[in-house]
Symmetry: C2
Subunit: 312 residues, 2 copies
């Protein structure tokens, strides 16, 4: 019975890593920079060297290690080839390369999917079996855990909650090529876009007009202080999220919804406002399910990596 | 190893029944009327008597029968209590009652969920593992099969696709108490509602104005003949469906989408038009999945009942 597992969350700037017990205890965590030069050809060798050094430092026996779980900001297709624009990877055989360099079992999944699995294992969803997590960051991602297992989807794209169409009347294009995606309004960038839309539509005075670089935190701080324009923006933001989450819940009927990602640091004011709109759109059987803020923060992904190895 | 199974699809007017081999062959099918008097207290005794008579007729050994699968037009809650407005049932212990009267194993699920499972077992989804089926009838229902198994949901309401919010700007109420549900536009009744909306908005001449009782078939017949107003109605109808199906596919990433129910008898003109809108709204990885018309018709439910017994 393996006793340890490595979680590796590969981001465009940093790679977060953790050594866990298979019971779910995080023993050590550290980061290394992501070297995306030369189509990201060094990313896997750098990670493998770091893990091999960690194994040596703790004089671990490889037989005691269940493997390496990796989270990537992209879709892992059948066959294990991975395309991640942020890492410079195109059909990159990352899993095979990592196996070759470590001699360990390796599994790889989308980072937001693994964050959801991590929260269900040791975070805000602990003890639950049917959980949807939405991740509000630069973009909007998500993950779906059904009957305790991650739903990857037939093409590896289940839980891509940022691209649910929530506004068929939108004329501007989302990065994905469609229009009216949830991410277009409910990401950190979307929040700023909504703010600009509202500022263009109103003549009301607001401190927002004098701020050169608007961001989601400033918008929420002012909304919490009661600035009417910022409040209006926050209502629109949460309306889209409540609508999107109601669509999801009406379809898959989960036990709980979690909200994670950088924007979720706003906490209860955000949660309560999303919940208000959600309840207005949700079908009766799912109207009163728990909606909670995720608790593992940036570590959710590395937790999920190890749980994903255990679920193999 | 059991050789036979009974499928029982309980509707508000008729109960459809079938005797199947566990290989999926329908050996015999028949119907009895649904007696919904006295809060539907006779529904289960009538079905049990009919099945007991069938067992006797074929001199089957109960050891050779895997059980009775039942589909009901409602949500089967944890604990097995069933509420179906159409049958007069409120927290009805139908499963226990059926067991007592037949001595057989009994399982019960929502009828649209079982129709999806039936299509995946022996119909248009045969050989597929991840399938969403939407049922366009008096209302809009649906079922979701993931990794070959039915997704019932935490509260038994997964796949209630009729109540996905597709139009946040709607002011009129759906039967469920919310606004802008897919069923409000994409059921047979919704089709007529859309027609009336379009007729009120246009002065164009159309044979539709002289028809006293519009129904979905008349609307589609005229659309196929090329009447511009009927075409406009059919476009709006399929736009809502394409949007709703794209939401579903973006979230759960299925292999295939099936369209069933009475309205689906229109066949290819309906399918192709839904597909057109779907492709406009769907996220890239699921944009080109198969969308097909279901093939088992009214028998899908009884097939699904028996597969549900096999999956226990």
């Amino acid at each position: 019975m393996a006793k340890y597992g490595y979680g590796v969350d590969i981001g465009g700037t940093m790679v977060k890593m953790g050594l866990f017990t298979t019971e779910g205890e995080l023993l050590e965590k550290w980061s290394i920079p992501t070297n995306i030069e030369d189509e990201g050809v060094n990313v896997i060798p750098d990670i493998a060297a770091s893990i091999n050094a960690n194994i040596e430092k703790h004089t671990l026996d490889k037989k005691d290690i269940i493997g390496i779980g990796m989270g990537v900001p992209g879709i892992v297709e059948k066959g294990g080839f991975i395309t991640c624009v942020n890492l410079g990877w195109k059909d990159h055989p990352a899993i095979t390369r990592m196996r070759e360099r470590t001699g360990l079992n390796v599994r790889c999944e989308n980072d937001a999917n693994l964050a959801a699995l991590g929260e269900v294992w040791q975070g805000a969803g602990k003890g639950k079996k049917d959980v949807v997590m939405i991740t509000l960051g630069t973009g909007v991602g998500g993950g779906i855990v059904l009957d305790g297992k991650l739903r990857s989807g037939f093409h590896g794209s289940a839980g891509e909650l940022g691209h649910i169409p929530v506004n068929p009347r939108e004329t501007r294009l989302c990065n994905c090529g469609n229009r009216g995606c949830l991410e277009f309004y409910a990401s950190a960038n979307g929040n700023v876009r909504l703010a600009k839309d509202v500022l263009n539509e109103t003549d009301m005075d607001t401190p927002l007009r004098s701020i050169e670089h608007l961001d989601s935190k400033i918008l929420w701080d002012l909304a919490i202080e009661g600035d009417p324009v910022a409040v209006d923006i926050s209502e629109k933001f949460c309306n889209y999220l409540g609508l999107g989450l109601a669509m999801i819940a009406n379809i898959i009927d989960p036990e709980m919804i979690l909200i994670g990602g950088g924007v979720s640091r706003t906490g209860e004011p955000l949660r309560a406002k999303i919940e208000k709109y959600y309840r207005g759109y949700a079908f009766k059987p799912v109207k009163h399910i728990d909606i909670a803020i995720a608790t593992l923060g940036n570590d959710a992904g590395i937790y999920g990596c190890v749980k994903y190895l255990l679920d193999e």
